[in-house]
């Protein structure tokens, strides 16, 4: 199997990571495909430096998150967080209000209120990464990650409860 094919196989096994990161960092669905392409390219570019002793997914988190945080694009008019929430949920039927998809949309909506680094911390926590990996991926101390995460949790709690209050 060629190096390229083995890379694509590994990427596709973990494509959920790329799709989720793109959804967190970019509002416009069309732009997400471009961000996914850019992340794939950056991972491919540094693929030689990937040591198979470590998990491919751990390596993927680090490269993709840093690419998403630092990527620049020509700015379109930014969607407001409310608009993006509407787009995320408009295809979901009203009677499915408590469906998993609605709940997921609420989580993505809450992400929009966080800063770039906060998004990266919360995302890795939700993916089940330990604090030590989160700190290594972002170059922060473990204590720093813990403290930030405590704040993010409070922020998320208040955003979600506000969303639910508005719905009622």
């Amino acid at each position: 199997m060629s190096k390229e094919q083995s890379f694509l196989d590994q990427i596709n096994q973990h494509r959920g990571i790329l799709y989720k990161i793109a959804r967190i960092y970019v509002d416009d669905p069309e732009d997400r495909a471009d961000l996914i392409q850019e992340m794939t390219y950056q991972v491919w570019r540094s693929y030689d430096s990937f040591k198979s002793q470590s998990l491919f997914s751990t390596y993927l988190y680090r490269i993709c998150l840093n690419t998403a945080i630092l990527s620049f694009k020509k700015e379109k008019r930014r969607m407001t967080t409310e608009e993006s929430f509407y787009i995320e949920t408009e295809h979901i039927l009203q009677d499915d209000e408590n469906s998993k998809e609605i709940q997921l949309s609420k989580i993505y909506y809450a992400f929009k209120h966080l800063t770039e680094i906060e998004k990266a911390i919360l995302f890795q926590y939700l993916e089940g990464l330990p604090h030590s990996d989160i700190s290594r991926n972002l170059g922060l101390s473990e204590v720093n990650v813990r403290v930030r995460f405590h704040r993010i949790k409070e922020k998320i709690k208040s955003i979600i409860s506000k969303t639910e209050e508005n719905e009622n």
Partner: protein, 211 residues
């Protein structure tokens, strides 16, 4: 929805519905990392410099103001300017090589990138002003040569005219050079420093570690 349930909901999201990633291992045109954009800017600048170098050389050599003995003086000035530019471009080449090796995947690399970019920006600033200061007399001579014809037609005392407008003319010229240089440096490089600064500031944000 409770905060503790979020992780459970999140992890239950299946990626089976996501489209497989195809064999597109090229960079995105829309999303670009700062290093790629800066490298592209630098190549563009170098091409522009080479084109303008030969263009000015040809245009000025044909101008009457520099004919005969004046032309050799001009070539000396131009050669000096060329050497100064080469020295600067060597520095830019070193910067280009350094950032080519950096991958923005860690905080350490981000700090290195910012440091290199800051130094390069200062070199660029000196280069732009120096280039403008050297180019200014050459441009003035050409303009003077063009203007001389109308002075002769309208019977105007050139020296009086020059003394009256030179200070304000030089000030206005320098103001525009300053404006153009700063605007160009900001849009080509400063904007990336600002962005990187914002991320670094957020990462280095002092948190009370006793919480």
């Amino acid at each position: 929805m409770k905060i503790d349930n979020i992780q459970e909901i999140w992890q239950s999201e299946s990626n089976n519905q996501d489209q497989p990633i195809l064999n597109q291992l090229s960079a995105s045109e829309k999303f670009q990392n700062p290093i790629r954009k800066i490298k592209r800017n630098m190549i563009f600048e170098f091409v522009c410099y080479l084109l303008s170098f030969f263009l000015i050389l040809k245009v000025v050599a044909r101008n009457e103001a520099f004919l005969n003995e004046k032309l050799s003086n001009y070539y000396i000035v131009f050669a000096v300017q060329g050497m100064v530019c080469l020295a600067f471009f060597y520095q830019f080449y070193l910067f280009y090589k350094t950032i080519s090796k950096v991958q923005l995947t860690t905080l350490k690399n981000l700090v290195i990138f910012r440091y290199e970019l800051k130094i390069a920006l200062h070199i660029y600033r000196i280069y732009c002003y120096l280039f403008a200061i050297i180019a200014l007399p050459i441009i003035l001579v050409i303009l003077f040569q063009i203007g001389q014809i109308s002075f002769e037609i309208n019977n105007i005392d050139i020296v009086k005219w020059l003394v009256s407008i030179a200070p304000s003319g030089i000030l206005i010229t320098f103001f525009f050079i300053f404006l153009f240089t700063e605007l160009y440096l900001y849009t080509s490089y400063g904007i990336y420093i600002k962005r990187v600064d914002k991320i670094l500031k957020e990462m280095e944000d002092q948190v009370d570690e006793n919480v």
